[in-house]
Structure formats: structure tokens, C-alpha cells
Symmetry: C2
Subunit: 259 residues, 2 copies
Amino acid sequence: MTPALSLYQRIAAEMRRDITSGVIKPGDKLPTERQLVERFSVSRDTIRDATAMLINEGLVERVPGRTGGMVVRDRVVVTFHASWAESPGAPVSEADSWITEVRALGLTPTQDFSCRMVTLSSEMAHQLRLTEPGPAVLRRCVRYVNDRPSSIQDTYYPKWLTDLVPDLLSPEDIKIGTTRLLAERGIVQTGYLDTVRARMATPEEAGLLRLGAGTPVLVKTRVACTADRVVRLTVETMAGDGNAIEYEIGGVEPITGAR
Amino acid sequence: MTPALSLYQRIAAEMRRDITSGVIKPGDKLPTERQLVERFSVSRDTIRDATAMLINEGLVERVPGRTGGMVVRDRVVVTFHASWAESPGAPVSEADSWITEVRALGLTPTQDFSCRMVTLSSEMAHQLRLTEPGPAVLRRCVRYVNDRPSSIQDTYYPKWLTDLVPDLLSPEDIKIGTTRLLAERGIVQTGYLDTVRARMATPEEAGLLRLGAGTPVLVKTRVACTADRVVRLTVETMAGDGNAIEYEIGGVEPITGAR
DNA sequence: CAGTGGTCTAGACCACTAC
DNA sequence: TAGTGGTCTAGACCACTGG
């Protein structure tokens, strides 16, 4: 049954066991590569093949420099409550909801806003139900947890909407939340279509989110509409396995009530 | 700005450009490793470092054997419509919904069922709102697209429920769907709490789903309840970037109507 | 400065698989 | 049997970073 693991796979398995069983804990350093060469009596490349597996699985991180080494990662999971906020009557904006969640984990949330004009791809224009590609406003929110980038949220507003609500062009955070701002101007969002996917980070994303090679991203695409029109497209790219998305469907009191 | 890419990174970038720009198309074979050694005048290990990046990004697959080689992957995305089915009044079962989706893409769906008794971990018992770990029935459904494993769906039913509805112990597919079966016995599910995460596949999952190393999985956890009790826990592990999950919140006619 | 990981070489032998 | 990727070795030099 077992397909005869190769040498580096057996070494990886042994180290993986030490990590998952807790012999080596998050934050602990692994032995140096040259120490592992001695311990297992193999070449350094074989050790690097083994540790590359652990890094690809998200268990371990390489830290360069004199006091560096390989460190067992400590992944805290931040949960996005997709069903909670963003309804016009919701008590909090989507951003507030995220900030609350991060603080509840004892971590420090930060956000960076920017705003610029872009030309929509035909793919994006189609998702916004526009007849053809055209200009749009892109509002970007980069979120940090303990100063490490955690997610990039890009929201595209079609030109007809920003003509109606020029406040959307503000390069600053809109305190009350864009959903409530739009509602106050008569644009009430009543429906969302979310699509969630997982894929490997592109090199650009790995740079932006400061991800190690071999880290996945969780991508949530949200198309929002009023009773008769599509008003925005939001693409949220989240770092690796440090984020989760939660959806409630129907009444969940028996589940959440016991918490 | 650019941090001086190393040799293997530059080679990877060049090959990546050929793939994403369409010079090399899905299904096409890359040159052999030894041909690439010649073309770039580097050692084979450097070529392997470069191609390992492409494999980790999910762009390329290695195929062993005489006529093997490195092949550009063609990823078709199957979408799970999480909001559609599973309501007792829904026209189709969750399985039917999936089968329809796969067929619509011109692919062939297959499913394998199995059923066995397991002991719940304390984590799972907590999710089922049981006071302590205990026995449960695990119904597993492995799904294949064109004979390649695509997802593993594990559903755990607590013992009190299988005592009430022994049909759940059937090792065969339940044609009408378990949700409708339970509804006929008076267990009407009215709420779901879904959590979606992305992470790297463990070696076991990579084996089950026949994934190459460095492929992410999309994990959907669904806890379902009736008006007053939690009745099941479903963990669905999906292969890499070949799957997506879709949620509808509120009225989405302006979005879906235009399709 | 000393030690870490990062990169690269030039070989070697193996398992697998279509021809 | 011939050619593919899979594994492994024993070196080498580099960039980076704390003491």
C-alpha cells in the first residue's frame, strides 16, 4: 500500500510528526540544515528536499541571516463573517467586523486605503453586467495583522455609480462604510453573489502579501446588486491558511447559540 | 524595486510568461529537462528549481515515463452552489446539483460511497454540540471528474440520529439524498453554518486526490441544524484550484438574470 | 566575523513506461 | 530498450545579518 517513500520523504515524515505531535512547537527553531545533514547522514540537498516539503505544506518558514533558521509557523486564523455585515441595517460595517475579529484574537489590525481609476477587463465588465469594458474606480484596502499583510480587498465601482456618488472617489477610508454611504444616497444593496476559490499565489501576490513560496491564497469574489442593478465587484485575496470565511444559511441558533 | 531575481527564478519567469501568454497552451508539453539544460546552459538542478516553481503555482504537471514530460495543466473549474440544494423543498439533492454542473462542462462525473463507524474527535464532537466525544457514522462520498478524484465529502451523523434513522447506515448511495430522507422522518434541516478555508494538502490528501506536491485544497465545513438541534457535520475537501464554491445572499436576480 | 539559508554545478543511478 | 522524470551526492560560492 505504502509506495516506498524515498529518503527525503521519510525524513520529511519524521520531522512532520515532530511538528504535528507537538514535540516541536510553533515558534521553535528546527535544527540547522547542516545539523540535519549530520543527524540523518545525507547530503544537504536531500535535507533541502525534505524541508521544502514542510515549507510547501505551510508548516515551516525559512528565516535568513545569522540568527535565522527554520521556524515552525504559528498560524492564527481570522474568520470573515460574510453573512454578518454589509446589509444596510447591519450594526457594523464590514471593516469594523474584521477589526473586531482580529482584536478578539489578541492581535493588532491595520488598514491601508487607496483609490484610483482603472480600465475594466472584459471579464470584470461582464461580471458587473456592463455591455463593454470601460473606466471604473478601484478602491483598495490592504489589511495587516500585527504588521504582516493579511488580505487585499479590491472593489470596482462602475463609472455611472461614481458619477452619482462622487464621495466614492475619496482616497481615505469612508468611516461609515461604503455600503451605508451608498444606502444613504438611495443605492440600497439587496443581494450578493459570492464565489470562493483557492489557488497558489502568483509571484506578485507573494510579494504583496509577503508570502513564502508555496503558500495558497483564498480568493472571494463578491458581486453586489440593488433590486434592479449590479453596483460593484469586490475581489478579496487572502493570505494562505491564515484566513477563513463563514456563511450562515437559514436559522443557525442551535449552532451558534451554544457558543 | 526588483530584488535581482536568481537564475532559476528568471528561467521560471520566462517559462511562466510563455504559459500565461498562450505561447504554450494547456495540454502542450514543455521541453524535456535535458533540453532546457541545453537551451539555458545551466545544470539540471537549476532547471528543476525553476520548474518546481511552476509546479507549485499549479501551472505545470510532471508526467513520468517514456512519453511523459512536463505538461501545462488545463484546469476546469467546477462550481459548488452552496445555497441551491439541500433545502428540503429544493428540486434537486446536493449530489444531483454537482452532477449537473459537471455534465454541463462536458465532463463525466462519478461518485463512490462508503459508510463506517468512527469515534469522533473532541473537536468534531464540539462542532456537533455533543457534550463529549463518542461514536458516529461517517458517510464518505468521493467524487471524480473524468476519473480523476476531485473532492472528498465526509459527513458525520451522531449516534442518536442514526438510532432514529437507521437507513443512514446504508453503504450505498441514498438516491433521494440524505437531506430529503431525514426530512421524511421528521428531521427537517433549517440552518447551515459554513466555514471555508484554503491550505496545502497533507501527504495523505495528496495521495487520495492524486494531487501533485504543492497543490492547495479548498475545505468547506458545514454544520447543519434543525430548529432545535445540530444534526450533522460535513467536511468537504476539494482538489486545488479545480473547484469553486458559490453563495447567494439575498435577491440576486439582477446578477444571475442576465446570464 | 561567523554562521545562516540561497544558489548552482556536474555528475550518478534508479523506476517507470511506451515503443 | 531507450528516454523520461525521481532521487541523491559532494562539493562550491554567495548574500545576508547579528554579535
